[in-house]
Each structure stands twice: as structure tokens, then as C-alpha cells.
């Protein structure tokens, strides 16, 4: 039973992380489309924020792992 809850939790984390990453990626694309000359900077910022989010999601996954 506990495993099932763990899996549901993992699914929720992945959903949340996915939404977050989608937002970051989408907005970054928009920003790059708007200002193509700042693409490098936006990309770096995007990767950093993505990494922070990823760390959060992985942390939650590991915390939830029994």
C-alpha cells in the first residue's frame, strides 16, 4: 500500500515538475523569439532555473522514496 502512495506521490512530483519545466521552457522560447540577440543569456538563465526546479523535484522524489 505504501508503495502505491509513493508512486502516486512520485507521479504528482513529476506532474508538478513537468508543468514548471514547461513554463520555463515556453517562456524562454518566447523571450528568445522576442529578443533573439539575448538568446545566450536567456538560455543560461533557463538552464539554471530548470536545474533548480529539477533539484527540487529530485529532492522530493528521494524524500518520498522509502
Amino acid at each position: 500500500m505504501e508503495t502505491a502512495y509513493n508512486l502516486i506521490g512520485a507521479g504528482l512530483i513529476v506532474i508538478g515538475g513537468g508543468i514548471g519545466l514547461g513554463q520555463i521552457g515556453g517562456k524562454a522560447m518566447e523571450a528568445i523569439a522576442r529578443q533573439p540577440e539575448a538568446a545566450g543569456k536567456i538560455q543560461t538563465a533557463m538552464i539554471i532555473i530548470g536545474a533548480l526546479l529539477e533539484g527540487l523535484a529530485f529532492g522530493a522524489l528521494l524524500l518520498g522514496k522509502n
Binding site: 543560461t44 539554471i48 533539484g55 529530485f58 529532492g59
Partner: protein, 396 residues
């Protein structure tokens, strides 16, 4: 220029020679202990695959390359054993891991002096005095043995030493090149842009032009160490260095310590007495900031560990498709699918290997930059108009 290739070839040669020599030694040991073998045997069922992957993710005390059955049906292992160095109740003990005979279930006891050791799930336990065999409780935890401080040259430590040596050789050679000429030749031409990349893309923009130089040694070392470790994890040697939680904890702790020690007055001020907010808020912000202080290295270590572990699990799982899907797709189908998917994922992992090294270094640089940043709050108020002008100019 060709000297470098010769060097690499030479090391490879020594490596294989060493491996085969050790393998033969093993075989001698091995003929008698066939029944206690727990890893390196044939892996065919889902449970075996799971345990194999599980085993791979852990550190091991010997360097196992591959196993095969010879004509007589005897399993042979190719690899070499590594030294075990433990700090036990009887003091420092040293012996070769071959004495465990590949046992991983606490069945083989090794006597070193007065202490008795056994290996259980890649960890070395010391039996309590008087115990002759290891006993387990209901949860499969040993009851009459305890963990020891294990400073063995494990596979990961061996890998780290190898990488360290490689880095020293390669970058030392690059450094030597600069003595005689301004522009490096040969392999140095590949390395120089990487060093420049770390300097210009990671350190300079995040730490600042004036202070970055002091942290370059750490950032460059960590960047290349993580990157090469990650790449080595993709080779069939089966290293999983950055997938060891101890390794990533150590790396993150180094960043943490460096950040705390290089933090200036402003940095501590922002943690303990946030300027520009009411007093009550200041007090409320202290625990939040302190938690933030700790979550930064935590996220660093978890990210690296989880990414590499996940990558290894998925790659090995896809390789295992060859076996698990044999019934459904046949040998050719499952192998083809497995190879295709593994190849695809390996390319992604190649990117991840770089990305994780980059992210780790980048975030380290960012945290260091936040700690050493100079805040000039007062100057901004006076130059507001200039700023507006500047912004306008930029738009025009």
C-alpha cells in the same frame, strides 16, 4: 603530437595487462568457491536484473569487467581486486578484496589480525568479538556486526584517482605547452576552449570580474572532475562515481564551505538582518534564510546524484530489455530495440553528463558570486535618472 596517443595506448595496455593478470589470479581462487558466487553470474530473470542494477549503482570493492562461461561451463571473471583499508576496533586493517571471493551476502569471513570482516551489500562489516557467523534480524539487518570506517580503494575511489591522474597529466601537459608557445597544439586545442568556457561563461559572469580568479582552481577542478566522472560512467567499465551519494555530498559540502568562508558582510547581513524590511519581518526571515542556506548544497548534491543514478538505471534497464522482451519480440527484435533505445538514451546521457557538470559548477559559481557580491544600495537612488537614460538609449 603523437606522443599523447602513445601515452594513452600505453596506459590502456598496462590496464588490460593488469586486468588479465588479476583475472587469472581470480580464476585460481574461484574454482573452489563456485557455490558462494553472488554477483557476476548469469543474469536472466527480472529479479536478477534488478539486483544487478542495484549492485551496479553501489560502490564495489573490486573491479569487475565482465564474466563468461568457458567450455567446461565454469564461470570466469575478468577484472582485478582492489585493496581494502578499514578502520576497525582493532585499528587500521589492510587486505585485498579478492579474499572476499566476490561474496556480497556476508557469507565469507575474512580474518585480518584479530578482527573478522565480511561484506554485505557492498559494505564491509566487522563481526562483534566472539561471533563466528553473521546473524540477521527480520529486516535483514545484521545483529552481531557493525559497519566500519571503510577507506578502501573502492571502484569509485579508483576511478577518482584515475581521473585525477588523467587531469594532472593532460592539463599539466597543456600548462607546459604554454611555456614554449602562445597557442597550444594537438589535444591542447580541445582543452583550451573548455578552460576558457568555464572561465568566461561560468566564473566571470557569476562571480564578477575582480574576484573570479580566486575561485577558478576549485571551479575548474570540480567541473572537469564531474564531467569526466560522468563520462566514465557511460563507458562499459561501469564506474558510477557521481552516482555515489558520498561523492556528491562531498562536492556539495566543498561548495558550501567555500561559499560560507568567502561570504562578505553583506552576505551575512542578508541572512541574519535583512535590510529594508520591518524588524518583525527580519526576525521571521532568519530561519527562512538559514533553511535556504542549507537547501542550496542539498539541491546541488541531490541533483547530481539523482541525475546520474537515474541515467544509469534507465540505460541499464534498456540494455536489459534485450532479456526481458526476448519472449515477446524474439532475440533479434529485443536486441535491436534495446540497442536502438540504449543508443538514443546514451546520446542524451552524453549531454546530461556535460550539463550536470556545467550546472554544478554554474550554481557553485552563482552561490559564490552571491556571497562575494558588493551591494551598493545608496548609489542607486542618486543615479536613477541616469539609469532611465541608459535604458532608453538601449531601446533606441
Amino acid at each position: 603530437m603523437y606522443r599523447a596517443y602513445f601515452k594513452i595506448a600505453f596506459f590502456a595496455l598496462i590496464f588490460t595487462a593488469f586486468a588479465t593478470a588479476q583475472a587469472q589470479e581470480h580464476n585460481g581462487d574461484y574454482a573452489f568457491d563456485d557455490e558462494i558466487e553472488s554477483d557476476g553470474g548469469k543474469v536472466n530473470t527480472k529479479e536478477e536484473i534488478d539486483s544487478y542494477i542495484d549492485h551496479h549503482l553501489k560502490d564495489s570493492h573490486d573491479f569487475h569487467l565482465f564474466s563468461y562461461s568457458d567450455d567446461a561451463g565454469v564461470r570466469k571473471h575478468v577484472g582485478f581486486s582492489l585493496p581494502v583499508i578499514v578502520w576497525s576496533s582493532e585499528g587500521l586493517k589492510f587486505f585485498m578484496s579478492s579474499r572476499f571471493h566476490h561474496d556480497d551476502d556476508g557469507k565469507v569471513l575474512v580474518k585480518a589480525g584479530d578482527a573478522t570482516f565480511t561484506k554485505l551489500h557492498s559494505k564491509i562489516y566487522e563481526l562483534d568479538s566472539g561471533a563466528t557467523a553473521i546473524n540477521f534480524d527480520a529486516d535483514h539487518h545484521p545483529t552481531n556486526a557493525h559497519r566500519v570506517f571503510d577507506m578502501s580503494i573502492t571502484k569509485s575511489v579508483f576511478g577518482l584517482l584515475l581521473i585525477g591522474l588523467l587531469m594532472l597529466l593532460v592539463f599539466g601537459a597543456l600548462a607546459k605547452q604554454y611555456k614554449t608557445k602562445k597557442i597550444p597544439t594537438g589535444f591542447g586545442r580541445v582543452l583550451e576552449p573548455l578552460v576558457l568556457y568555464v572561465r568566461d561563461e561560468i566564473a566571470r559572469p557569476n562571480i564578477g570580474e575582480t574576484k573570479y580568479r580566486k575561485f577558478m582552481g576549485y571551479l575548474l577542478t570540480v567541473f572537469f572532475l564531474i564531467w569526466i566522472s560522468n563520462l566514465l560512467g557511460l563507458t562499459p567499465f561501469g564506474f558510477n562515481i557521481t552516482g555515489q551519494i558520498a561523492v556528491t555530498v562531498c562536492l556539495a559540502l566543498f561548495t558550501f564551505i567555500i561559499v560560507q568562508f568567502s561570504g562578505n558582510k553583506d552576505y551575512w547581513m542578508h541572512i541574519f538582518w535583512m535590510p529594508g524590511v520591518p524588524v518583525l519581518m527580519k526576525i521571521a526571515l532568519i530561519p527562512i534564510e538559514l533553511i535556504g542556506l542549507l537547501t542550496k548544497p542539498f539541491s546541488l548534491l541531490v541533483r547530481l546524484f539523482a541525475n546520474i543514478t537515474a541515467g544509469h538505471v534507465v540505460v541499464m534497464g534498456l540494455i536489459a530489455l534485450m532479456i526481458t522482451l526476448k519472449a515477446q519480440f524474439g532475440i533479434v527484435g529485443s536486441t535491436g530495440l534495446s540497442i536502438f533505445l540504449t543508443l538514443f538514451l546514451s546520446v542524451i546521457e552524453l549531454l546530461v553528463a556535460f550539463l550536470q557538470a556545467f550546472i554544478f559548477t554554474m550554481l557553485s559559481a552563482l552561490f559564490i558570486g552571491m556571497a562575494v557580491a558588493e551591494h551598493d544600495h545608496h548609489e542607486h537612488a542618486g543615479t536613477e535618472e541616469d539609469d532611465i537614460d541608459e535604458v532608453r538609449e538601449r531601446f533606441i
